[in-house]
């Protein structure tokens, strides 16, 4: 019996398995969500427990415009994937470029907000529990935005050079999944920090 493999009779039904890229990204999103949950729990747990000011009500303003930018970039990245799927490479570049632009606006708005908080309101990560939890939660999200923007810019670069074909649809879709996740997390962060926390 040694050295024998199992009878390879031809399978009658079509053997179809899920795409490994999408499965892996789903797993990564699950793991990342757990990290975010812990930071959100810490944020919620410490709401109103700071022993000194400034408080969220005094210094935070609703970032409506930048939130709209970030959330609409979810749509544009989706259009980019469908454009690539239909082999419309020019449209794909356009949508990708728009996504990067919208993400960039969001990042710039966050940077401006932090500048305002640090230099005008005197709130740093060391100031109080609000500063600690605010900067770590928003910063963690911003880090994810930076990573996403980096990947999207790479994709844009390839797309402009003409290296992106409809064969790469699945890879771009995996990337868009990550970007959707980043946007979804922002909804949670927005609700917790700017609505519930104030």
């Amino acid at each position: 019996m040694s050295e024998t493999a199992v009878i390879p009779h031809s399978p009658t039904e079509v053997w179809k398995l899920p795409s490994r890229g999408i499965v892996a990204m789903a797993c990564l999103i699950l793991a990342e969500s757990a990290i975010f949950i812990i930071f959100v729990v810490a944020y919620v747990f410490y709401i109103g427990k700071s022993v000194s000011g400034p408080t969220p009500r005094e210094v935070l303003e609703l970032p409506i415009f930048s939130s709209i930018c970030l959330l609409s970039s979810s749509l544009t990245v989706h259009f980019a994937v469908s454009a690539l799927h239909d082999s419309k490479r020019g449209m794909c570049s356009l949508w990708l470029g728009l996504t990067v632009l919208l993400g960039g606006i969001f990042l710039a708005a966050t940077a401006r907000e932090w500048y305002q908080l640090i230099y005008h309101d005197g709130l740093t990560i060391k100031t109080n529990l609000f500063g600690t939890t605010y900067y770590s939660l928003v910063g963690l999200h911003a880090t994810h935005v930076v990573v996403g923007l980096f990947m999207l810019s790479l994709a844009l670069l390839f797309s402009l050079r003409g290296g992106l074909t409809s064969n790469h649809t699945e890879r771009l879709e995996v990337l868009s999944l990550y970007w959707h996740f980043v946007d979804a997390v922002w909804i949670v962060v927005f609700l917790v920090v700017y609505v519930l926390g104030r």
């Binding site: 199992v6 009878i7 399978p11 398995l17 499965v23 990564l28 757990a34 812990i38 022993v51 990560i125």
Partner: protein
């Protein structure tokens, strides 16, 4: 009666490539490899090295505690010993050895050529390995600039505020955090790989309902890794922020909460026990049926019970914190959820017993260890139920009773099953059998040593001996018990040395195993031992849970009974 009808099979006639001779070439092969089998082996070897180190630390502690008023090591060294022992055994022995076996076996069992992401696999291994190296580098580098201590000494769960800069100056605690962080990255990487492999790389016919239970359990373990290791990573990031940037997450002076760290740590810490024990169950699921010569009893119930364990284990963490004072509501909830988890665990034990029942049991060394596991895991579970009762826990929390309980799980169940797995899969990995005679010696020595140590360790706990105590007075009545416990540790060491000797000797002199020495039924036994780089010359296709049974018994295929 008659022989069977002939069946068509594929014979691999590829000439074996000549082994490389030069040391540099061999090293280059191993450093650059993406082969899941080689990476799995590196995981196992690396874990074994740390097992020896962690074991030595345990022996040093037992020598220190063997007699009262002992000063064999200094108190500072003792603190470092128990911290490093715990951290090493959980993060750098338990996880890598289990992931090593997973890496090696999963693609073979589902008929795949490699893992889904071979490069990520190599990355995950190396980052865990460097994490372990960093942890032990603290013995040399920790005192460097500050002269404030070397290795971490805050205990393996590093409670706040002991980890604050004021109480742990220097970098010793940072070494702990960073090493654990690195190992966490590697663990999540491997878990992603395992999930993607099992879901996307199965050979034709290998439906989820036909996967070997080992693969099922690794799938569940990996899902648990995502939701438990990540919180630990998050908590470690917070601790790093506290220590480096000056934030106040666990700083009680600024309104921070030390209890929050406990919650975050144990949200990781308890499911972690199940992450470690589920692979041990996985080995039992493969080994017990083969040596009982029966199919596993209740395959769907086994898979479902494992999923249940996975879910329930996420809601039991605070039974580590009954003494914190969480209030009656939380105490009741965590007592009940902890008790409920014994139901799916009980289902598993009964299914293993039912698999043994009426079987033609072969008492090979692997099977002996598996049976030892079965009984010891039962006892560990029973003391676990005792500890889940919060009033009982108030008396015995942080005593040697708790130490005895969880070592019963970690050694009596997990380590026994790991030994069993070595005896079972060593022939597949090396092509040679482990010596059974030495194996039996190893089993009995280790069994006696184990029971000497950990049965008697319950008693000083009941008599009030706290964990992590450096030394004790002679009039406490703990002396004799500690002496027995320590002598048991020596017997276990002897058993383990015998095992190491057996592995080395059998590698050169063991009997040639052949492809299928145990007459087993899963796909890994259908290829040569050791398997070629590409695992299967032709991708197999399966029609039941035991493809090799179908091949060996075409008149009575398994598919009829599933």
């Amino acid at each position: 009666m008659a022989t069977q009808t002939p069946v068509t099979a594929i014979l691999d006639k590829t000439p074996a490539s000549p082994p490389r001779r030069l040391l540099f070439q061999v090293l280059h092969d191993w450093l650059t490899t993406l082969d899941h089998k080689k990476i799995g082996l590196m995981y196992i070897v690396y874990a074994l090295i740390f097992l020896v180190i962690g074991g030595l630390e345990a022996v040093l502690m037992r020598i220190q505690l063997a007699i009262p008023n002992n000063h064999f090591v200094s108190p500072e060294t003792f603190n470092r010993l128990f911290t490093m022992h715990g951290t090493t055994m959980v993060f750098f022995v338990g996880m890598p050895i289990l992931f090593g076996f997973g890496n090696y076996l999963i693609p073979l069992m589902i008929g795949a050529r490699d893992m889904a992401f071979p490069r990520l696999n190599a990355f995950s291994f190396w980052i865990s390995a460097f994490g372990g190296t960093l942890l032990y580098f603290s013995y040399v580098g920790g005192s460097g600039l500050y002269g404030a201590g070397s290795a971490p000494d805050v205990g393996w769960f590093a409670y706040a505020p002991l980890t604050a800069h004021v109480f742990s100056p220097g970098h010793s605690t940072d070494y702990w955090t960073l090493a654990v962080l690195l190992s966490g990255v590697g663990t999540v990487g491997t878990a992603v790989n395992i999930v993607a492999t099992t879901l996307c790389m199965r050979c034709p016919g290998m439906k989820l309902s036909r996967m070997p239970l080992l693969v099922w359990l690794y799938l569940i373990t990996s899902f648990m890794v995502f939701v438990t290791i990540s919180p630990l990573t998050a908590a470690q990031i917070m601790l790093m922020l506290d220590r480096y940037v000056g934030s106040h997450f666990f700083d009680t002076q600024a309104g921070g909460s030390a209890v929050l760290w406990m919650h975050f740590f144990w949200i990781f810490g308890h499911p972690e026990v199940y992450i470690l024990v589920l692979p041990a169950f996985a080995f039992a699921n493969e080994i017990i049926p083969v040596f009982s010569r029966k199919a596993i009893f209740g395959y769907p119930a086994m898979a479902a019970a494992s999923v249940c364990i996975g879910f329930i284990s996420l809601s039991v963490w605070a039974h580590h914190m009954f003494t914190v004072g969480m209030g009656p509501g939380a105490n009741t909830f965590f007592t009940l959820s902890t008790m409920i988890i014994s139901v799916p665990t009980g289902i598993k034990i009964f299914n293993w017993l039912a698999t043994l029942w009426g079987g033609k049991i072969q008492f090979t060394t692997a099977m002996l260890f598996a049976i030892g596991f079965l009984f010891q895991f039962l006892i560990a579970g029973l003391t676990g139920i005792m500890l889940s009762v919060s009033p009982f826990n108030w008396q015995l929390s942080a005593s040697y009773f708790v130490i005895a309980h969880f070592h019963y799980v970690l050694v009596g169940a997990i380590l026994f099953m790991i030994f069993s797995a070595f005896y079972y899969w060593y022939p597949k990995i090396t092509g040679r059998m482990l010596n059974e005679r030495l194996g039996k010696w190893h089993f009995w020595l280790f069994l006696i040593g184990f029971h000497l140590t950990f049965d008697f360790m319950h008693i000083p706990g009941l008599l009030g001996m706290p964990r992590r105590v450096y030394t004790y007075e002679a009039d406490r009545g703990w002396m004799m018990w500690n002496m027995i416990v320590s002598s048991g540790a020596i017997v276990q060491t002897a058993g383990t040395l015998l095992f190491v000797f057996n592995m080395v000797r059998s590698y050169f002199k063991g009997a040639i195993a052949g492809a299928d020495p145990w007459d087993a039924w899963t796909l890994e036994w259908s290829t040569t031992s050791p398997p070629p780089e590409y695992n299967f010359a032709v991708t197999p296709s399966v029609a039941s849970r035991r493809p090799l049974w179908d091949l060996k018994h075409p008149e009575d295929p398994d598919g009829n009974y599933e």
